[in-house]
Symmetry: C2
Amino acid sequence: MDDVLEPAAEDLQLPRILAALADPHRLAAVRYVARNGESWCTQVMQEAGLAMTKSTFSHHLRILREAGVLTKRIQGTKGYTSLRKDDLDSRFPGLMDAIIEADADLASGASASPR
Amino acid sequence: MDDVLEPAAEDLQLPRILAALADPHRLAAVRYVARNGESWCTQVMQEAGLAMTKSTFSHHLRILREAGVLTKRIQGTKGYTSLRKDDLDSRFPGLMDAIIEADADLASGASASPR
């Protein structure tokens, strides 16, 4: 495993979740995982159009995990991440759906919304 | 008027809105205005339980206005603020309702959720 602390469902905090999502790259990663289900982390970075180093992506992933938006599972030598949709939906009904669907036509990748 | 630039409805940006809302005091102010309609700025600060100086509150209000969450109207010597609900709802359906209603039982004021 690693040293990232993922909060329990009852400890999710709205300001922290909003801060984690307030970045176009992290939004793109979350949308990718929301649409594709649990995904290999490297694949998320590549297919969500996130042009960055692996260590920068790890940093973004850490922020999303520490806020309780994403979780990570290790299998063999690979890390897989998924959205904590049930935990988020039960604490903040409608929030993730609204965020995932917002600007869905514009947001095929972070590179599509640079402004 | 003042020097704060409020974006047009078509220029609202989700990451900026989420960043503006990612603060317990700003969330409390937005919830107060969402529930009470257009309000005198000083009243929002006092009644939303925001224990801060007027200049700190002005700073928070500026961030919310520059993100397009709140708008401000001057009448006489007083400033009144209101939620740009129609603009927000048409660009990001369901988002503001989900945020306003989240933890509604806990969030009677920012001071009620200090953690």
